[in-house]
Amino acid sequence: MDSVGSRPEAIANTATISAKIVVAGGFGVGKTTFVGSVSEIVPLTTEAVMTEASAPHDDLTATPNKTTTTVAMDFGRVSLDSDLVLYLFGTPGQHRFWFMWDDLVRGAIGAVVLVDSRRLADCFAAIDFFEDRGLPYIVGLNAFDGLLQHHIPDVREAMSIDPSTPIVPCDARDRESTKQTLITLVQHAMQHRMAAGAR
């Protein structure tokens, strides 16, 4: 055994489980800020190369020779226990990258859709996608400058969100607010799961 191998925690860590939560929303709505407010690491960025798989969704008519595009997503990490790590993944800002969302949502606990109530339409694609995949989600109304621009019932109606789906006000910059939003999501996902099991 070398010096690295003799560290007992390296052995103990071999049963660490990871879980993930997806953070979606339009461009500039505060996804990375939200992730960063609870992450124990500065949010990292990883890149994936988009290939022809996205062709039906991506308008390539203007650039017929272009076969690949690089998309970036931000993520953060929260250690919840000695053997449990939660990852928060921000979806790529452009809603057209469905192929990557599939990878993102597979096995996720659920999603937080961050919404700027002045630009509601930005998050429609995300909500449609999660509903289509049966992924539990909640809506976080990001209160810019601490003010909600619209009332929650109005937002619910405007977005035609199911009454059972929570809509919560949140401040992406505030760790406690982000934490509460995530708690609400996990609770909702558990209810969703139990309801699905009961059927």
Binding site: D2, V4, A19, A48, T68, T70, R77, L84, G107, A108
Partner: protein
Amino acid sequence: MTTGSDDERRRPPQPTLAEALGIRDQGPTDRRRLWGRRRREEADQVEPMAMDHTAPPVPPGDLPVTGPIDIYPPAHGLEETTSIASAVRPYAWTRGRTKSGFDLAIETLVSTSPMGRSQFGLLQMEHRSVAELCAEPRSVAEVAALLSLPLGVARVLLGDMAGLGVVIVHQTASSAGSAPDLALMERVLSGLRRL
């Protein structure tokens, strides 16, 4: 998913692993094309490294042997330079493969196995960087981000290393089925409350 169409991929803004390792890139274009051609020839080959039940079925026969990836470019056509920099362009590491034999989700944790630690000196260069990074469990996404590799490359690399027994692949919340189970969600919930 298709393979090998990364020729036009723009250079990442952050340093690549090759740069981090101090390898100078002295003239990429010609040799990249060389690799591009080779990649297309090998595009459909899958290495039989994964004995995992999630591995896609691979036809037996004339498949390459599992083992460290040859990081050196083919000798012909490279007389003008001795640099091997272009050979470690991301998808060259993976021999153009874009799929891993292991089912690695972006949040899947990997850590260096005792074997990986004891044989550290024998590992090829890029596996060493990963082994060093994964002394503590890291997710596939973290490995990709910290080594400035595209996600797909990190996946193939980690799949190879898992096949060689150099890294251990940990369980994810959804390993057992398509969605995380209630007990795990309960643990996540209490973990969040304790934060």
